[in-house]
Amino acid sequence: MTTGETQKIREDRPRERRTTERTRLAVAGARAAGQGLYTPRSAKHRVTNTLFSAVLFLGLGTALVALTAIIGWALVEGWPRLDANLFLAGPSTINPEEAGFRTAIIGTVYVIGGVIALIVPLGVGAAIYLEEFADRERWYNRFIELNIQNLAGVPSIVFGILGLAFIVRGLGNFGFVAAAGSMTLALLVLPTVILASREAIRAVPSSVRNGSLALGATLWQTVWRNVLPAAAPGILTGVILGVARAIGEAAPLLLVGAVTFVVYDPSFFEGGYSVLPVQIYNYAKRPQEEFHVMAIAGVLVMLVVLMLINSFAIWLRNRYEKKW
């Protein structure tokens, strides 16, 4: 309460009822405190509050409307091609009515399966090392930490070039195969998974760790039996986010060999492969209208695949999240 307001209260009162300065101040202070507690804030505050809620609501609304609009539009436009062939038939440049995403779906499943197989042990392992075992005082540990944070912001095309130079050719020399795509995408999303896992591990209270150590458990037993199960839901959230990003990536995969047309079912370690976003891009850039419909339907296919993988991860997370 400002002096101005105190002044005002004083003037409101008849002269006779004035008591000492100190009492008046105390009363004014008490009233201000009481008002703060029991009555709504001043009009100014109310306006700010309303405004703020409105802005927040607008943000949420825009996001929701845009999302529904896109999905709705894709449903309407892609409707003519939403049939079994879309999932079961291979791609074709001649016959858009019967073309499908079969090989691209298989390619995506291979690539993403590889990504999951790589990021879970590597990401969780790195997070455990940094949180539980690394000595923060050492310069190399701080260096690693800093770099992981920076890597999370590197554009995906850079990882594509890296994959081309070191995985497809160079050191790894795997060639243009699905495995190379997996490794490249795994590198891309690893920082996200590591950061999320570290956060989850850090959230496990130290009282739990101390309780375990005090019972004569080793640090390793403590991590494996107590910390990881408690951190599992958070770690899975990080994996879900990483996988969701990897599924949608086309740019780095173009560099490491995801080609546009694969007629035969791909395999993991040899032969050409394609993935959904690349296939969609390919259909979309063709001049014929029918292929555009294919591309739109392909978006829906990708959403379905994404939702299947995510629901599995969420189911897994809920199992671990069983409230203790």
Partner: protein, 293 residues
């Protein structure tokens, strides 16, 4: 581990009802001191550059309850953590001086802190059950020790829960979460967890500070019962509690050194009756009569 810490403990000895000031028992007969469990001499603990606790020397005797009392920040928890090497976990903590456990130096390089903690159990101030079922909480220490047949595990869990006076309350819900218990029950669960591995010593850091008087009374009864079997060291802020349960009491205080650095010291260590009826040091008297901090 290279050093064999096993020392035959005289488990058969019955604990006297109380130890009187001159070390004689209730009949006035002089009684030999029970074997020494911990012999702490000239203990210094430093956190980073802060020398938190200085020059602590005391001995803890077998199957007695030793209470550590004193104002907040005087280093009671620090000293307690030195006894099972939990200070190893505190970044920057350094312990100098000697802590002997049945004559063996706990801080000798060949001593494995894991083995030490297996034999010297600890109960924390805040109940800290693991995010697991009641059964798994109690079985945890046994599981980390190594594989055991299920039937043996079941028996040991029941034994520990019975020992912690919790069995009757939880026997029908062993599969439920440890968090589904009340605060007092959780603390007894933590005690059960600690005694399930059959330690030789139980360290308790303010085990009742989060509990109501009834739960506190239960835990105190439990401590007295456990003292037939274990050596107990307890930190408490509750002077009545120290007087009620302990055989010996150590009074710590925090004071400033010549450079004005606040640090903890042991002021007086004696038989509990003596500390509470006829303390030798003025500071002890002021503290227990409530004239201090």
């Amino acid at each position: 581990m290279a050093v064999d810490l096993t020392v035959t403990t005289a488990r058969g000895r019955t604990k006297p009802a109380s130890v009187t000031a001159d070390g004689s028992d209730a009949l006035g007969e002089p009684r030999p001191l029970p074997p020494t469990v911990f012999d702490v001499s000239d203990l210094f603990v430093t956190y980073g550059s802060h020398r938190a606790v200085r020059e602590v020397s005391l001995t803890v005797h077998e199957r007695e309850i030793t209470a550590l009392i004193g104002p907040s920040g005087c280093g009671k928890s620090t000293v307690l953590r030195c006894l099972n090497r939990m200070n190893d976990q505190v970044p920057g903590a350094r312990v100098t001086g000697k802590v002997a456990y049945y004559g063996e130096d706990l801080y000798a390089p060949q001593v494995d802190p894991i083995e030490v903690r297996r034999r010297i159990g600890m109960v924390f101030q805040k109940p800290n059950p693991f995010p697991k079922s009641i059964y798994e909480n109690v079985a945890y220490g046994l599981r980390v020790e190594g594989r055991r047949p299920k039937s043996e595990l079941d028996d040991r869990v029941e034994e520990a829960l019975t020992g912690a006076a919790l069995w009757d309350e939880v026997k029908d819900k062993l599969k439920e979460s440890g968090f589904a218990l009340s605060g007092g029950q959780q603390q007894r669960l933590c005690i059960a967890r600690a005694i399930a591995v059959r330690p030789e010593v139980l360290l308790m850091d303010e085990p009742c500070s989060a509990l109501d008087p009834i739960a506190t009374a239960k835990v105190e009864d439990l401590m007295l019962k456990l003292a037939d079997e274990f050596t107990i060291v307890i930190v408490t802020h509750n002077m009545q509690q120290a007087a009620r349960v302990s055989d010996r009491t150590a009074f710590f205080t925090a004071e400033n050194d010549s450079e004005g650095v606040r640090h903890g010291r042991l002021v007086e260590y004696d038989v509990t009756d003596k500390i509470f009826s006829n303390p030798a040091d003025r500071r002890t008297e002021d503290y227990i009569s409530g004239r201090f901090g």
